[in-house]
Structure formats: structure tokens, C-alpha cells
């Protein structure tokens, strides 16, 4: 038996194709018996190169491209992107669009955290949690499909506003769904707090102290669980986040349990935000987007607090129809890296849940894609329809003027 030798260090591969991860990623755990003594992270299995591709696409097309960086944060990247372009243009969007943007952003946070909670249960071998969380997530997706047009990838963001309006009935539907969700969140929280076995598994596991979190520049729930009080929505308000009441939960333990609790509390805050926005939306009159002519030369930074942390977009424009440089930094790029500290010293099962607790999103981490400048682009039918609509819309606008 290879394990008989205590001193012997064995390499346990997690990935690149491993049920722990929905996406390819290669962690090499160096273990001594069950104890992890080292970790190598190898990425690149998900490298598509969206940054380069963005340099050859029209500003409106880039929107669809950044949406496809990641499926779970399919609103976060467009959100940061439109913030960025609007900063370059010096544009202020209509009030109604602000509320709708916030609703979309928070819907995504809820279903993403719900998804994480379920998967965390699955990784602990607790499939019942997985099934229950995903069952509760399903009505939200249906609501998204009804009001935004798709279960995911809903393409609501648009430079200068939003693409689809939410009428009063839609606003009420949100309030109703949120009221139904709250008791379920309470139930889940109680279940996690009361379950001694679950606590035994989550407490102490994968602790990331504040000092290390600062040094690794962690963001999002990871940072907030380690006592770093940051949240882009509060620090640099955009959309409707400064117009509604909510708080940023912070804990200091830095272990997986704290991360779980932070995410549960964030979902509750999102419910609050959505309810307030949906109410305010009924009173806010006006247009849902403004027209932009062209993007002037300059540079801008757009940020959005995605479910996993700060999404960062930097665009340099030299005028014209395409960005000169488009830099994208997803939250997982900083967070996955913290595993090098958090996993070492624990055991293999701890490593499994710690790697998962980052809520890693590798497709975000490895964007980038090159396309010939004049390359023919292939769209999905959904995108084609969206682009068609967009074109009709702009032509109508042009005629009216």
C-alpha cells in the first residue's frame, strides 16, 4: 500500500475533469496520508480569449460577448461593461433603467448563491440540500424567463439603459416571489445552523485569515467572510443601490461556515433590494434607455459587485466603433488563488469543500479569445434575434429624430 509509508508524499489530482467542478481546472494536491501539504493550481483549460475578441467587435456586440464569459454571472459582466462605457461617454441613465438594472443584478445574486449552496451540499455528499436548494431556485429562473426572456443569458443590459421594460404586473410578480422566498431562506439557515454534523464539517475548514485575504487581494463574499468590509455597491454606488436601504454582512472567522452564512445573509439583503426597487419602479415614469451616438476617445473603469465579488472592466477607446483595449478581471481570478493558502494544512475532504467554497468560476478567470480583425462572426439564433431587434429599435429611433 502506498499509504503505509507515513513520510511518503502522494499527489492527488483534482481535475481537470472531476465531479467536484463543473468546469475544468487542475489542482494537484500533495498529500501525506490524508493531510494536504502542498497545492499546485493549473488553469488554462477554459481559455477562450474574450479580451482580444472584444477588440474586433462593435460596442453593442461586445455586450453579447461579455455575457458569454460566464453563465452564472451572465449579468455581472455586462453590468460592469455598461458602467464602463457609460463612464467614457459621461452618460447618466434614466431612473427607470437604474431600478431595473438593480433588480436584474440582485436576481442573479440570489440564484447564484442558491446554486452555490446546493452545490456545496452536493460536495459534502448531502444531496438532499442540493435538490432542495435547486427546487427553490427554479421559480426564480421561471420568473426570469417570463420577464427577461431567458432562463440565463437574459441580455437585459444595454449601453444607455436596459433592453426590456418591467411593467407593474411584473413588479408585483417579483414582490410575490420574494415574499415566498424569505421563509425558505429562514428554513435553510436554521437547518445549517442546527445541524451538528454540518457544523462539524464547515467550521474551521479552510480558514483564510484577514491578513492573507488582504495580501491575496480577495474580493466578494470571500473577503467579507474574512473581515474585509468591501462591497462595490456601497463603496462606489451605481444603478439604484444608493437609493434603497440595505446592509453589507461581514464576518471575521474566514472559514467555510462564515462564507456560507455570508451568502445566506446576502440573499436576504437582495430580497430587500428587489422588493424596494420593484415598488419604486411602479412610481418611476419615463424611458428605459437613452440613445448614444458614439463612444468618444478616452478610458474608463466599470465595476459591479457580482455574486462572487468585484467584476472589473477597463476599456480604452480611441474613438471609432470598437474598443482599443478591453481588460476584464473576474472575481474568481483573485479568489481561486487564495486556495494556495487556505487548503494547505487541512485534509483532503476539507480541501474539497474549501476549493468549492470559493464559488469558483473558471470561465471568468480565463477569458480572452482572438478573432481575426475581419473574421466572420457566428451567432446563436438567440443572439441574432436580439441583434435584429436592436437594429430595428435603433432604426425606429433614427426615423423619429
Amino acid at each position: 500500500m502506498s499509504k503505509e509509508e507515513k513520510r511518503q508524499i502522494t499527489e492527488i489530482p483534482i481535475g481537470p475533469y472531476h465531479p467536484l467542478q463543473e468546469e475544468p481546472e487542475f489542482f494537484r494536491l500533495k498529500v501525506e496520508g490524508e493531510k494536504v501539504v502542498g497545492l499546485d493550481i493549473e488553469i488554462g483549460y477554459n481559455h477562450r480569449g474574450i479580451e482580444k475578441l472584444a477588440e474586433s467587435k462593435h460596442y453593442d456586440q461586445v455586450l453579447f460577448l461579455v455575457e458569454r464569459i460566464c453563465g452564472i454571472c451572465s449579468t455581472s459582466h455586462p453590468f460592469a461593461y455598461v458602467n464602463c462605457v457609460e463612464e467614457i461617454c459621461g452618460l447618466d441613465i434614466p431612473l427607470r433603467a437604474k431600478y431595473i438594472r438593480s433588480i436584474v443584478g440582485e436576481m442573479e445574486r440570489i440564484h447564484s448563491h442558491m446554486l452555490w449552496l446546493g452545490l456545496a451540499g452536493h460536495f459534502l455528499g448531502y444531496n438532499t440540500v442540493w435538490m432542495w436548494c435547486w427546487k427553490y431556485r427554479e421559480p426564480l429562473l421561471e420568473l426570469c424567463e417570463k420577464l427577461f426572456g431567458n432562463r440565463q443569458h437574459y441580455a437585459m443590459m444595454k449601453i444607455g439603459g436596459v433592453r426590456r421594460d418591467i411593467d407593474n404586473a411584473g413588479g408585483s410578480a417579483f414582490c410575490r416571489e420574494m415574499n415566498l422566498l424569505l421563509p425558505k431562506l429562514d428554513m435553510l439557515q436554521k437547518a445549517i445552523e442546527d445541524d451538528p454534523v454540518l457544523r462539524a464539517r464547515l467550521k474551521i475548514a479552510g480558514t483564510l485569515p484577514k491578513k492573507e485575504a488582504v495580501s491575496f487581494c480577495a474580493v466578494g463574499p470571500m473577503a467579507r467572510a474574512s473581515g474585509i468590509d468591501i462591497d462595490v455597491r456601497r463603496d462606489e454606488p451605481y444603478a439604484a443601490y444608493s437609493m434603497v436601504d440595505w446592509t453589507v454582512p461581514v464576518r471575521t472567522e474566514g472559514d467555510v461556515y462564515a462564507k456560507t452564512m455570508i451568502r445566506l445573509e446576502e440573499m436576504r439583503q437582495s430580497v430587500l433590494i428587489i422588493k424596494q426597487c420593484a415598488e419604486a419602479l411602479k412610481k418611476a415614469k419615463g424611458d428605459i434607455s437613452v440613445q448614444i451616438k458614439e463612444v468618444p476617445p478616452g478610458e474608463g473603469i466599470g465595476r459591479h459587485e457580482a455574486p462572487r465579488g468585484e467584476v472589473f472592466h477597463y476599456i480604452k477607446s480611441r474613438g471609432g466603433t470598437v474598443p482599443y483595449r478591453h481588460k476584464i478581471r473576474a472575481p474568481s481570478y483573485m479568489n481561486v488563488f487564495t486556495n494556495e493558502y487556505a487548503v494547505v494544512g487541512g485534509t483532503i475532504p476539507d480541501a474539497a469543500i474549501t476549493l468549492a467554497a470559493v464559488d469558483p468560476c473558471y470561465c471568468c478567470t480565463e477569458r480572452m479569445q482572438a478573432v481575426d480583425g475581419a473574421g466572420r462572426q457566428v451567432y446563436t439564433s438567440k443572439q441574432l434575434i436580439d441583434i435584429c431587434r436592436e437594429k430595428t429599435f435603433s432604426m425606429k429611433r433614427g426615423k423619429n429624430k
Binding site: 488582504v214 487581494c217 463603496d235 462606489e236 468585484e310 477597463y314 481588460k327 478581471r329 481570478y333 480572452m368
Partner: protein, 140 residues
């Protein structure tokens, strides 16, 4: 305004130019030799969070922007460093900020900038038998 004064006091002559196009965005250009000093000042003394770095091909030279976020005020302080095209090279900051290790490897791989002092520059994203353009983010 006190923020600008603080920056000017501490970085002094090292600042080549300071630009504030919007209230929450500050762009500071410095020369590559002063990068480590400025990064250390921003990260350790000002308690800024290192967000990321973007390298870009400005045709005649390469430009690297280090984005630091001052979260308590919601302000972004960006350090701009220019390096010549023939021999693109800057000092590493990965020993000061652990979070900069991957982004330096990525820039080395995709843009071909050498980071002096970073030991682990090598393949991060691309496969060893990748056969496309050598540095895909270069414009020519």
C-alpha cells in the same frame, strides 16, 4: 483634494503626470524604476486593494496600468507605466502583493512583457502545444 496632496507629498517627483478625468478616477504616470516604490506605498501605507493590471500594446510602446482601489472612498488610483517595445521589461510587484502573481504570468504569456524578479513566469493559460500567434494580445 487632500488625497491628491497626500499622493504628491509621498510620491513627489516620481509622478510624471497626474490626471483626474472624473472625481473617482486618478491616473498617475510614473517611470518603471519607481513602480515598486509606488506600489508598496499604495498597498501598504494607503491600504489600497490591488485590483488587477492591464497591459496593452500602444503600437510604439507597451503600457501597463496597475489598478488600485481605495475601497473606503470608492476611488481608483491607476499607476501607468510605459516600457519600450523592443525590450519590454518592468520590475515585479508579486513579492509585495501576492495577488499580482497570476496577472504578471498572464501578461508575460499573452503580451510578452518580462517581469524582473518573478520566478514563475511560464505557461499559465496556453497549452504547451499551442500553435497560434506567439503573443496574442500584441497588435502586430
Amino acid at each position: 483634494m487632500e488625497l491628491i496632496e497626500l499622493l504628491e507629498k509621498n510620491l513627489g517627483k516620481k509622478i510624471k503626470s497626474l490626471d483626474r478625468p472624473r472625481e473617482k478616477r486618478i491616473y498617475i504616470e510614473i517611470s518603471p524604476e519607481d513602480l515598486r516604490f509606488a506600489a508598496e506605498f499604495l498597498f501598504n501605507s494607503m491600504k489600497c486593494r490591488f485590483s488587477t493590471a492591464s497591459g496593452m500594446d500602444e503600437e510604439e510602446h507597451f503600457e501597463i496600468l496597475y489598478h488600485f482601489s481605495l475601497d473606503s472612498k470608492g476611488i481608483f488610483i491607476n499607476l501607468r507605466v510605459k516600457t519600450e517595445r523592443k525590450k519590454p521589461e518592468v520590475d515585479t510587484i508579486s513579492d509585495i502583493i501576492k495577488g499580482a502573481r497570476w496577472i504578471e504570468r498572464e501578461m508575460h504569456e499573452l503580451l510578452g512583457v518580462n517581469f524582473k524578479g518573478n520566478e514563475e513566469l511560464g505557461n499559465l493559460l496556453l497549452s504547451r502545444d499551442y500553435r497560434g500567434p506567439k503573443h496574442p494580445l500584441r497588435k502586430k
